[in-house]
Subunit: 408 residues, 2 copies
């Protein structure tokens, strides 16, 4: 006669099992219990339910049996077809679409050149609808449902309201994009800052497993940052937290793309480096306000080959970066600062002055034990993170929908 349903333990335990399987791949019931602090009786019960719902499958026993006495483990694993998610990365003049399955694997990826800066808000919406529709038609055969869509956007976004507040890739502002896409595709839409996606991927790597408080700095055309606190992205009041690129190096210093002066980005971003170099050096021509990868590589090479003017420019960028990181250490005291993004190509030319600036700026007590490391850049990382975040965000819904359809 009672309908409690307030008890969350079964729900929580079920989500924990799903996420363990996603992180670890196939796992036996005993081990699922041990990893999540629940009894194997409960795991039996939960996995029976998930099997019936089609969210997991039992993996057939290996042909060469693993050594050891006793009854062999029966591994269960996520059913990759149970759901899929789409992640769209929006950057300057390019979008990338990636499809991921329920187990988190990337199934498909495509890039499109798009003149993003010329689009209106309606154009963008129409474009996204078209591209997502196409990918749904071509790539989503066999999946039981589209669980969600993640929009990974450079710039300031409000995840909560699903609004792009400002992006360097777009010439309009305050676009409530999530709601429209959600309505069109009948699934939840997660709007994320691109740096948060990358930080989520990096934080999942075993090398950084012991860093609950992780700062990721992304060098590139602009400079982005993500702060994970206990493993979750810190968003702040409007989602405009972690704007490292616009924290200050020199009040009244160099002009930044944001229109103000003295931002770290105005010294250490691609456009700032190229701007500083354009007057003094003989570099490949082109749009010097939006240097290409080729142009940046040429400039980096000059510095690494010992050209004094190029070295001076990178040294000053390193100093700016160092002061900025010193402020981050003083304010966040993270376990680890990771520097990545396409701009890491020039990290070796900035590293010395960066470390020097940090050591000059902070006494050892405040410098703390924070590791500061660079990290190779992979342009696919953003969407991998977006897929992981979208799956995580939609697990509860996928679960409840599977329960509903299993009952009927």
């Amino acid at each position: 006669m009672a309908l409690p349903s307030t008890d969350t333990s079964r729900h929580d335990n079920t989500l924990a099992v799903i996420r363990t399987l996603r992180d670890q791949g196939p796992v036996a019931r005993v081990d699922l219990g041990a990893l999540n602090g629940i009894s194997s009786a409960t795991v039996t019960s939960i996995s029976a339910e998930l099997l019936q719902q089609g969210l997991i499958t039992e993996r057939p026993p290996e042909i060469p049996r693993p050594s050891g006495r006793g009854r062999p483990k029966t591994l269960v694993e996520l059913n990759p077809q149970a759901a899929c998610v789409v992640c769209i990365k929006l950057s300057i003049n390019e979008i990338q679409l990636v499809v991921g399955d329920f187990s988190g694997q990337v199934r498909h990826s495509e890039h499109h050149a798009v003149p993003t800066l010329t689009l209106s808000a309606d154009d963008l919406e129409a474009l996204l609808e078209e591209k997502i529709s196409a990918i749904c038609a071509q790539q989503l055969k066999g999946f039981q449902r589209l669980a969600g869509i993640c929009l990974a956007v450079q710039g300031v976004v409000s995840s909560q309201s699903g609004t792009i507040i400002w992006s360097p890739a777009l010439s309009f502002r305050n676009a409530p994009i999530s709601a429209r896409i959600a309505e069109r595709f009948h699934c939840s839409v997660l709007l994320e800052n691109d740096a948060n996606c990358i930080a989520s991927v990096l934080a999942a790597q075993p090398a950084y497993a012991d860093c609950p408080n992780l700062v990721v700095i992304m060098l590139g055309y602009g400079i982005g940052m993500s702060v994970l606190i206990n493993g979750v992205p810190y968003l702040g009041a409007n989602g405009s937290a972690a704007e490292f690129g616009h924290s200050k190096y020199q009040p009244d210093g160099a002009l930044c793309a944001c229109g103000r002066r003295g931002c770290i980005e105005a010294y250490a971003s691609d456009y700032a480096l190229y701007r500083a170099a354009a007057d003094h050096l003989n570099l490949p021509s082109g749009d010097s306000a939006h240097p290409s990868e080729q142009q940046m590589q040429a400039l980096t090479q000059l510095a690494l080959n010992g050209d004094p003017a190029a070295q001076r420019i990178y040294a000053e960028a390193g100093r700016a970066l160092g002061i900025g990181i010193a402020n981050v250490l003083a304010l966040f005291n993270p376990d680890l600062v990771l520097i990545t993004g396409s701009g890491v190509r020039g990290f070796d030319a900035m590293q010395a002055t960066m470390h020097h600036a940090i050591d000059e700026a902070l006494v050892t007590e405040l410098r703390g034990s924070t590791r500061i490391e660079s990290c190779a850049w992979d342009r696919d990382m953003t969407c991998m993170g977006g897929i992981a975040m979208a799956l995580h965000a939609t697990d509860a819904q996928t679960l409840s929908e599977s329960q509903a359809s299993a009952v009927s």
Copy 2:
């Protein structure tokens, strides 16, 4: 045959009831249910248990009955005698001891002048033992137990390890103080940064209830900060997060007490203001490296009365503060920045340049909707916060001990 005890819901609900009573004062069982999302049947069960354990009492009905039909509410309230906590604030050359009861009310407060800078670690330990023993003997009659002790310390502390890493009040470092006090008084000892205590008190005020992400800046002899994220103090990897005072205004700028250059503290703290003024102005004599309240008031008065040199000094301090706050806004994007501490006496003389610097530093998208306000300073706030935090930290233990003694 089973001893589950893993189910945490009863425990969580019981703590929620205790904390609701502490925050709200006497509350009826129905309202406890509504406030915490549990049924009143459960509240009946929980409060029966707490009554039996002596942690709460039923308040006798009011003589002039509250209007309204129906059976009147029976209010329950915390039994103030159920436990008490002691908070000790350690600042430069002064300690304050405060006793709080289980309901969170301050029962006793005392100040002692102590030459803290001349103490060794052992001296400090002996001194604290002596003062705590004395207060226990005199003030703890009638309390069922001493639940915990809170040490509120200016400087960098590691709450986790109970170690004072560095404090401007002490001439030694890395003192593992918590463990020894805990052993001596057989209760848990919470080591907290003083700014976190103050932030906790402020965050509990109704005016700031809608600010889950709150930054509190404390101006005084030095400059401290606390960052509450979703209402809990952010500590960072070693507890040295939120060191706003040592974030940078000008690389290679003014000399700071920490030994480095260009820190915000080197411009806007009491010692920095007095140092800048000492050469130009006719001020009360004394130790200009440790200006007294009287000296600071004289200096502030000069600025507020229009003395150009004093005004220039406060204007520059405001600019430094503004750049520092701009960085805090860019990195944390909080809902509210509160400026308090004894140094708010000079806030009016800094405010204009501070706001100007913030507006110059950040575009509106990054400036966000963060409110920036000052807040009157009360030297007792630290210990009030320490008491609240100590009670919060020890509630679970108080509960389990009461259960154990109620069974026997």
